[in-house]
C-alpha cells in the first residue's frame, strides 16, 4: 500500500544495488510498464480499502431490530379534556394532548403571518381535539414543559422549553425563542375511535 502512495524510487537505486543485470538498455521501457502496473495495482488496492470502510460505517446505523420497532399504541379514552399524556416512541417522548375548545380556537385563530414556521392547525392534527407531537424541542433536543397541569406552559399556552426558552402554542408551533421549527408531528393513525398507533 505504502508503495502506491510514495513516489517511485529512482531507477538508479536498482542499478547501484543490482550490480550487473546484463543489458541495461530496455530500462526505460521497463519503467513505464512498471508504472502502469503500479497504477493499476494501486487503484485496485485503494478500491479494496475503500470498500472495507463501508461495513464499519454501516454498522453504526440503526440495526434491523431498531428499525423494526416502529409503532406504539396509545389508548385515548382515559385522557380527560385539558389533559395530556406522554408516551415513548423510538426512545423519544410523544405528547398526546386532549385540547379544550378554547385551546383549539386559539390555535386556529393565529394568522399564518405571525408564525416563524407557518402551518395551519388543520395541517397538524388528524382528528380534533387530539394533538400528537414529538416532545423534543427543535432547538437542541430538550423536552419542553407543559404536560403536567403544574408545569409552566409558556406565553402561548402550549409548551415551554426550559433549556433555552422556546415557547410553543396549543398547536405545538414555535412562537418565541431560539427554536426554528414547530414540534414535529409523527406519522400516526386512528386504529379506532379511542386508539391511535404512532409510527
Amino acid at each position: 500500500m505504502a508503495d502506491t502512495l510514495a513516489p517511485s524510487s529512482s531507477p538508479a537505486m536498482g542499478g547501484s544495488h543490482g550490480g550487473g543485470s546484463p543489458g541495461d538498455d530496455p530500462h526505460a521501457a521497463e519503467g513505464t510498464k512498471r508504472d502502469f502496473l503500479k497504477l493499476v495495482a494501486g487503484s485496485f488496492a485503494a478500491v479494496g480499502v475503500g470498500a472495507v470502510v463501508w461495513p464499519f460505517i454501516a454498522s453504526m446505523n440503526p440495526a434491523k431490530d431498531v428499525l423494526a420497532l416502529a409503532s406504539t399504541d396509545v389508548q385515548l379514552d382515559h385522557i380527560a379534556e385539558g389533559q395530556a399524556v406522554t408516551v415513548m416512541w423510538r426512545g423519544k417522548p410523544v405528547f398526546v394532548r386532549h385540547r379544550t375548545g378554547a385551546e383549539i380556537q386559539e390555535a386556529e385563530g393565529v394568522p399564518l403571518s405571525d408564525l416563524r414556521d407557518p402551518q395551519t392547525d388543520d395541517a397538524r392534527v388528524h382528528r380534533r381535539p387530539w394533538l400528537v407531537v414529538v416532545g423534543v424541542c427543535t432547538h437542541l433536543g430538550c423536552v419542553p414543559l407543559g404536560q403536567k397541569s403544574t408545569d409552566p406552559r409558556g406565553e402561548f399556552g402550549g409548551w415551554f422549553c426550559p433549556c433555552h426558552g422556546s415557547h410553543y402554542d396549543t398547536s405545538g408551533r414555535i412562537r418565541r425563542g431560539p427554536a426554528p421549527l414547530n414540534l414535529a408531528v409523527p406519522d400516526y393513525e386512528f386504529t379506532s375511535d379511542t386508539q391511535i398507533r404512532i409510527g
Binding site: 537505486m13 544495488h17 543490482g18 543485470s21 512498471r34 485496485f44 488496492a45 479494496g48
Partner: protein, 264 residues
Amino acid sequence: MALRSLKAAAKAVTLAATLALPLALGAAPAARAAEGVAVPDTKFSFDGLFGTFDRGELQRGFQVYKEVCSACHAMHLVAYRNLREIGLSEAEVAAVAAGYQIPDGPNDDGEMFERPGRASDRFRRPFANDAAARAANNGALPPDLSLMTKARPGGADYVHALLMGYEAPPEGVTVMEGMHYNKYFPGHQIAMAPPISSDGQVQYADGTTATVDRMATDVSAFLAWAAEPELETRRAMGVRIILFLVILGGLTYAVKRKIWARVH
C-alpha cells in the same frame, strides 16, 4: 525465467502448507471430540461452499416448527419479521405474528397483559421461563432452537438424523422411565418423544406430500436458516471478495517481479 517462477511456486506452496498445517491438525480434534455415532449425511440445498437455501423448503420447515416443535421449543432469537427472508410477504408475516399472543406491559394500571404479535416481535416462547418448561416436561428442558444447527456437531445433518433416529432399544439396553431410545443422541436416551411420527402429520400449505423424512428434512433446513440467516449473503460476498483478492494478488505479484527484476 521458467526456473525462477517454478521456485516462486514452490515458495508459495511452502507458505500455503505452513498456513494450512495448524488448521488441519489443530482444529480437527477440537471440533470433533467424538460424541455418539457418526451422523449420516443428508442432502441439503445449502451444502457445500456455494449452496443456497430453498425457499419452499424453508417455508415448509417453518410450518413444521410452528405446528410441531413450537409446542415445547422456543426460538427466541428469531423475529417474525425475519420470515420475510424465507419468502413470506409483509401481509403474511403480519398474519403469522398476529396469530400469537405476546406478553407485554406493564400498562397504565401496572398490569402485564397480552396483545397480538407484531412483525417486530421475536418468536413467542412456549413457556414463561426455564423452570416452567422443565415442570411441563418431566424435568427435561427443551432447548432453544435458534442456534441448534450451529450448537451441535453435524449441524442440520445431526438434527435430521436425530428426528429420524428413534427406534426400539437394542437387546440388553434398558431405557429409563420417560426416556426414549435414539440412535444418534449422545448417550442414546432422550427425553423428547418422537416429534415427527407419522406421514401427513403436517398438512403442507404448498401441497407437498408430508412424509416423515420430508418433514424432518424441511425442519432441519429451517433451523439451519434460523441459525445462519446470513449464509447466502456471506457466501456471495465471499466469492466476490476472493475473486477481487486473487486479481489484486496477481497485480501485486507482477509489480513485485518488476521491481525485483532490477536486483536479480
